[in-house]
């Protein structure tokens, strides 16, 4: 799991140091995720989808998918989850999600008094390997991203946290970069 941060893309690279540790963590995570995987082997992809024409702004697909394609290489097949009937879910999944975007007055979603507690509880839930019981309505209010598809992925199998590369909110948005494994 990593956050769908546009600044991870080449066209948004700059001298701003604020994203440097996140980029390093994402690099480690992607290396871990694709270790030993053939270049043409598919990866599952869990992320928010464009839910209204107004949100699309002429785009063919969600910006999260563009980010994944750039990070993983255009040749990597990506299967959006949940998979349609008859298509098996890949064993490896990239989930694009983050916590609240309301941690400070300079945060994209401005300061929300419930953001810090929400993120703390969300972090605890992630480390347990599941998001059952999470208040997804509040997540929307707090400008979280990707939590509904992430919750579906985590509910699909028995996952456990195995890697915990990053846990910060450098721009007022709570980011985690984590690796999960399952026994089955």
């Amino acid at each position: 799991m990593l956050p769908p941060v546009p600044a991870l893309m080449q066209r948004y690279r700059s001298a701003a140091p604020v994203f440097t540790p996140l980029r390093h963590a994402v690099g480690e995570a992607l290396t871990w995720l694709t270790d030993g995987l053939a270049d043409d082997a598919p990866l599952g992809l869990a992320h928010d989808v464009l839910d209204s024409p107004g949100a699309q702004r002429g785009l063919d697909h969600a910006p999260e998918r563009s980010l994944a394609m750039e990070l993983l290489g255009d040749s990597r097949p990506l299967l959006s989850l949940p998979a349609v009937d008859g298509v098996s879910t890949p064993n490896r999944v990239l989930a694009l999600a983050n916590g609240s975007a309301c941690r400070t007055e300079r945060a994209p979603g401005f300061l929300h008094e419930r953001a810090e507690d929400f993120d703390r509880d969300l972090g605890t839930a992630l480390r347990r390997g599941g998001l059952s019981g999470l208040d997804l309505e509040l997540a929307v209010t707090l400008w979280c991203a990707g939590l509904r598809p992430l919750a579906e992925v985590l509910a699909s199998r028995q996952w456990r946290l195995s890697e915990d590369w990053y846990d910060e909110a450098p721009t007022g948005v709570q980011y985690w970069v984590m690796g999960f494994e399952c026994d089955s």
């Binding site: 769908p4 948004y12 107004g54 702004r57 910006p63 994209p108 979603g109 401005f110």
Partner: protein, 287 residues
């Protein structure tokens, strides 16, 4: 095209300075310097003396913060508009609001122009412009909610989106009865845009002016300037003026600014280079 801004008309080749006058305690640039009404009035006196044709009076800062309802917004701006109207009959009075309710009150008080900086969120605002025969600024924000910051917004083509959205609003206002000469479009730097988007609409502003609709640009000291040059608020004038020059070359008609004299010089210079304005004096080599 001749601009008709309420009671006032301006011919084709006149670029106009719209001076920002905040009736807020917390706007990003002046940080409440004109929150007190008399201070705001002093600011109007100052920018009028500096040659601004328009004052843009706002009662709510654009950034997120304490919620200001329509009643409080009216308390901040309506009486002030009336005071400015009485003291400066030749000044164009614009009010920066997205609310029809506020728009109606300020038009009653003497406003000439409604600066709908949040892109038609309240469709009734255009109806107010038609009812009172005032001008309207039609703005591109990518559909974001007023007073929210852009967050991970992407466009297939930001300028195509901006032109479609602003002209769509302008044509709707026209159908409601707003005078064609009173409709202005604004790509709205920073609103619903990241810095690359704002740089792109600056670079491609000619596509917007080519539509034939008069274009307003609001560049002054904004974050896209700050991020581009890594300069905090207060150190963005040079970058602002560079962007202003590019927009002037493209033919923008109205410049919403904090610093009137500096912007006027840049626009006049570019306007003259473009052959749209005669130099103020011509002596060298022609005596």
């Amino acid at each position: 095209m001749t601009l008709k801004l309420g009671r006032h008309e301006f011919d084709d080749n006149t670029p106009l300075m719209m001076a920002i006058v905040n009736r807020t305690p917390d706007s990003f640039f002046d940080k409440g310097a004109t929150w007190a009404e008399d201070k705001a009035f002093d600011r109007v006196v100052e920018v009028a003396e500096q040659g601004a044709e328009i004052v843009d009076i706002g009662g709510i800062k654009a950034a997120p913060g304490v919620e200001i309802d329509a009643a409080e917004e009216c308390r901040r701006v309506v009486g002030f508009v009336a005071r400015v109207r009485e003291a400066f009959p030749h000044l164009v009075i614009s009010v920066d609001t997205w609310r029809a309710e506020v728009g109606r009150e300020v038009c009653e008080a003497g406003a000439d122009l409604l600066n709908d900086a949040w892109g038609g969120v309240d469709p009734g605002l255009a109806e107010v412009a038609a009812q009172y025969d005032v001008a309207l600024v039609c703005t591109h924000t990518g559909g974001v909610t007023p007073r929210t910051r852009p967050h991970r917004i992407e466009y297939a083509d930001v300028m195509v989106d901006a032109i479609a959205a602003t002209i769509g609003q302008a044509e709707r206002a026209l159908s409601l009865g707003v005078d064609r000469r009173s409709l202005i479009i604004d790509p709205a730097h920073d609103f619903g845009k990241n810095t690359l988007h704002s740089l792109e609409i600056t670079r491609r502003l000619g596509e917007m002016t080519d539509t034939g609709w008069p274009v307003l640009v609001s560049l002054s000291n904004k974050d896209f300037v700050g991020e581009t040059l890594d300069r905090p608020v207060g150190e963005r004038l040079v970058g602002t003026l560079a962007a202003t020059a590019i927009c002037a070359q493209a033919g923008a008609r109205i410049y919403r600014v904090h610093q009137v004299p500096e912007t006027r010089q840049v626009v006049d210079m570019v306007w003259s280079i473009a052959g749209r304005r005669q130099p103020a004096t011509l002596v060298r080599g022609v005596s």
